[in-house]
Each structure stands twice: as C-alpha cells, then as structure tokens.
C-alpha cells in the first residue's frame, strides 16, 4: 500500500528545486563583493520537467527511488560585469529569493492538501 501519491512525489521535487534555488541565491548574495565571482543559477522550468520525467520513468520501471532532485547548475550570462570581474546583481537575487520563498510556500500548501486528501481517504469508513 502506498501513502505517497504521484502528486506528492512531484511536489517533493518542486520543493527540492525551490530550496536549491534559494541556496544558490544565498551563495550569490554571500559573494556580492568577491572579486571574479560569477553568478550561479539554473533553468527552473527545464529542471522541473526533467525531474518529473525522471520520477515518472522510475515509477513505471523497476520501482527504484530516484532520490532528491539535483539541478544542473551553471553560470548565468547576460549580466552586467563590474570592473573586478564580479557580475552579481542584487535586483536579480532579491527577486529570485522572493520567488523561491513563494514557490516553497505554494509547494508546502499543496503538499498539505494532498496529505489531508490521503488522510480523508483513510478515515472514509468512520
């Protein structure tokens, strides 16, 4: 019997990626004044699609757990570079942090609802 549903697995991946996003934003903010530091980031939508596809494949396959979602992190280009070689933009990082927080909030709320739905199904006979 399974307590976890496909949706709860996907939400867990969504939360993994949101917290990875927050951690990268925190790293970029920490290195705001480090000479030569390049902004790190990943494509959220593409990584989410890849991660969900991976999880779906694993569910249909031998039933192995694929583990937490780990995004492919790369250097962000197209940002204005300062003379010291650092290209961290406070505006970009501030927005990303707000976005990651809201995404995480959405993820936890949806997960709560999913679990209460499973809980309702369990208590149906009462």
């Amino acid at each position: 019997m399974h307590i976890s549903t496909p949706l709860s697995g996907e939400l867990a991946r969504y939360l993994d990626l949101s917290s990875a996003e927050l951690k990268l934003t925190a790293e970029n903010m920490a290195n705001l004044d480090t000479p030569g530091y390049r902004t790190l980031g990943f494509d959220f939508a593409a990584e989410m699609a890849r991660s969900v596809a991976e999880a779906g494949w694993a569910r249909r396959g031998p039933g192995k757990d694929v583990g937490p979602a780990t995004p492919k992190v790369g250097k962000v280009d197209g940002l204005l570079e300062r003379p010291d070689g650092n290209n961290v933009s406070i505006d970009r990082e501030g927005l990303n942090m707000a976005e990651a927080q809201l995404q995480f909030r959405i993820g936890t709320e949806l997960l709560k609802h999913e679990f209460s739905r499973v809980s309702n199904a369990i208590h149906e006979d009462k």
Binding site: L15, D16, S18, S19, A20, L22, K23, L24, T25, A26, E27, M29, A30, N31, L32, D33, T34, P35, Y37, L40, P68, A69, T70, I90, M97, A100, Q101, F104, R105, T108, L111, K112, F115
Partner: protein, 160 residues
C-alpha cells in the same frame, strides 16, 4: 538539499561582512596613529574576499560565534573557520602600500629632524563608504537567513 545549508552560506557572509566592518572601524580608529609596534605610522588595512570552494561545512553557530580576534591572528591572515562550499571567506587582510602623509609639527614627539610627522593616509569618506557597503551587504544576507527560516517553518507546518 538541505535548507540549513542556506543558513551556513549566509552565516559565512555575515561573518565576512562583520570582519570587513571591523577592519573599517580599526582604520578609522587609527587614522591619527603615528606610532605602531614597529615604530612606523599605522597602515590602512584592506580585506580580501574569496569564494569558498569545496570544503567541510561548519554550522551556522560556529560561523557566527567563531572566536577569531581579528588582530590576534598572525599578520596578514585571519584564522580559518570552515566555510561551507558556495560561501564567502576573508582570505587575507592586507596593508595598503600608500605612503604616509607628512604634516609639519615640530613639537610632536614623532617628528623627524625636519619637523615633519608621518600620519596614515586614511580618508574618512572612503572608510564610511566601505562601512556602508558592509552594513548593506550584512542586511541583505540577514534577510536571506530570514527567508530560509520562513521556509523551514513552512515545511514544519506540513506536520500540523
């Protein structure tokens, strides 16, 4: 992925910015110091930040409460506390090589034979701008800690 890792990274930045503010304070406090241990006028100090690569992560508390008296360290270095990967660390505190400013004051005990006294070349404006930068960056990273705290609280709410 561990949400507490965010706190470690931001903690390393809080520490680095605090050291930067301490160095600015030391520079301003010694703006008129004409005599140091080796007999020369005080030299302005700079912090050098470096991105921490792979390393052994410390925890948030050890990052913040590390007992590293800035000037008890061996000259030019700050004792290493383990900085988490992706965090920031103060790799060195280096002295400015600018020549001292000479002011005519023959009565001063440190005056040379021509009556000139060597004072450190410290501009209060530059120091204030640096201090302001350190303060703002500290605030930015502390708001990142607040964000991580909010997310941890939200995930604890799932249990309710």
């Amino acid at each position: 992925m561990n949400l507490f890792g965010v706190m470690e990274v931001s903690g390393s930045a809080l520490k680095a910015e605090r050291i930067r503010a301490e160095v600015v304070a030391a520079n301003m406090a010694n703006a008129e110091t004409t005599r140091t241990a080796d007999g020369t006028p005080y030299q302005r100090q700079h912090v050098v930040f470096g991105a921490a690569g792979a390393g052994i992560g410390g925890n948030f508390r050890s990052q913040l409460l590390a007992a590293d008296g800035l000037f008890s360290a061996s000259p030019g270095t700050v004792p290493g506390v383990q900085t988490p990967p992706g965090g920031v660390e103060v790799t060195a505190v280096v002295a400015d090589r600018a020549a001292p400013i000479r002011r005519y004051d023959p009565q001063h005990p440190d005056a040379d034979k021509d009556g000139y006294v060597a004072y450190p070349d410290i501009n209060p404006l530059t120091e204030m701008v640096d201090l302001m930068g350190a303060t703002r960056a500290y605030g930015l990273n502390s708001s990142a800690v607040q964000a991580a705290k909010g997310m941890i609280t939200a995930s604890l709410d799932i249990l309710k």
